[in-house]
Amino acid sequence: MAKKRLIPKLQLLPSKLIPGSMSLVTTQNFKNSIEVGDPVSQAKIYEAQAVDELVFVDLSYSRGVGSKEAIVNVIRKAAEEIFLPITIGGGVRLLQDFSLLLNNGADKVSINSAALEDPKLISDAARQFGSQCVVVSIDYKKDENGSFRVYSEGGSKKSNLTPLDWALKAQNLGAGELLVTCIDHDGTKQGLELEMTERICQSISVPVIISGGCGRAIHFTDGFRQTKAEAIAAGTFFCFQDQSPMQTRSHIKNAGIPIRIHT
């Protein structure tokens, strides 16, 4: 059985400092973005710190400023220098978007809003490119009645689906992996949402990556102990703290969880 995976999630927005380029940013509850630096340099550092994969999420589409050229430039550069599996998401609406990203160095493509609008995109993409490169990203939060619901368009549009129903449907349509993020926990550093996460992990047979809320090393070990998730992704945690993936990995390993220790 493959080891648990630790994945930095690099969120991207057009840079305010260097026009025309993309910046690594962090968010809180999908809002309040803070510009951190150059995404490829940071990704290269993560590779040196022995992370298992990289996930890039282009937030510019959900804010109405997306450009395929900008994201393609980032992936091309990343793929030339970094030899790890790379997932790209954000603004993927068409099969042509899959081709474009895969041909420019992505190994997997994650889809979110477009799949909710047209679930057939999942099965079409799985048939054309293989399930292994179709990641369905599911963002969810508690609605005004306290029930978990799936949200799209960067957390702004509520759907009637529960995260579990949508996860099952996505899997049945051919998703090779799920990336589930709790919006309420995003960027809060208060820990992962474990209740819904575990219900999803229990019911799903494809690998599940969970994210949103890691602020301390114990949040990773809690995530792996209390759910069957295959991987945990974190953005803010690796951007702002004196905690490298290498240290985090040691914490996880010392808690008795099988994870890659690369020396």
Binding site: M1, A2, K3, D52, F83, S131, Q132, K228, T263
Partner: protein, 204 residues
């Protein structure tokens, strides 16, 4: 010059980038005759076994590969599905004849047993044969990145250079027969260990 077989499937850019990074000249070969110009061949692959064989046949690669690899002994490295199609047959979706360079069939990893999920995605420690050229200079049990639902079941254990356990199944991680090499994992996605495997192949 290293030739990468382009038969319309697979992430050629990653393989090309990894080879360029270690300083090799790469020729992407979409026509069989282009392979005459290269010293070594890489057969990448992502997708399904039947499609892969169909594309190799349709583009005329099968006779050329047989000639160069079996007669002229040009070194070749198959990656992932590119390794699997070197088997006698694939059992993915339908029974499909492979290149037949290894007495093996390619079968599904049974999910569910011991928490095994497919596709099996992630890093696995592999145990390698100490004589293995691909793993020359490696520490014990290095880890590599895998993404697959099918595995190559080799009849000739002596051709298995490395393996890992997935539940009760012994999954072939690397194979060799003279000048023919294959890895189930993706060296081009396995960071520095992957790079070392590529370099060992290039040194052959």
């Amino acid at each position: 010059m290293i030739g990468v077989v382009d038969y319309g499937m697979g992430n050629l850019l990653s393989v090309q980038n990894a080879l360029s990074y270690v300083g090799e000249d790469v020729l992407i070969c979409s026509k069989p005759n282009q392979l005459n110009e290269v010293d070594k061949i890489i057969l990448p692959g992502v997708g399904a076994f039947p499609d892969c064989m169909k594309n190799l046949h349709n583009r005329g690669f099968v006779p050329k590969l047989n000639q160069l690899v079996l007669e002229s002994k040009v070194p070749i490295l198959g990656i992932c599905l590119g390794m699997q199609v070197m088997a006698t047959e694939g059992l993915e979706m339908e029974v499909t004849a492979g290149l037949g360079w290894f007495d093996a069939n390619v079968r599904l990893i049974e999910p569910g047993v011991d928490g095994v999920k497919i596709p099996n995605v992630g890093w696995e420690n592999v145990q390698f044969n100490e004589e293995s050229l691909l793993f020359d200079g490696f520490i014990k049990d290095p880890d590599f990145y895998f993404v697959h639902s099918y595995y190559m079941d080799c009849k000739n254990e002596g051709q298995v250079e490395a393996f890992y356990h997935c539940g009760k199944i012994k999954v072939t991680a690397a194979i060799r027969r003279e000048n023919i090499f294959g890895t189930q994992f993706h060296p081009e996605k396995s960071s520095d260990f992957g790079r070392s495997v590529l370099l060992n192949f290039l040194d052959f």
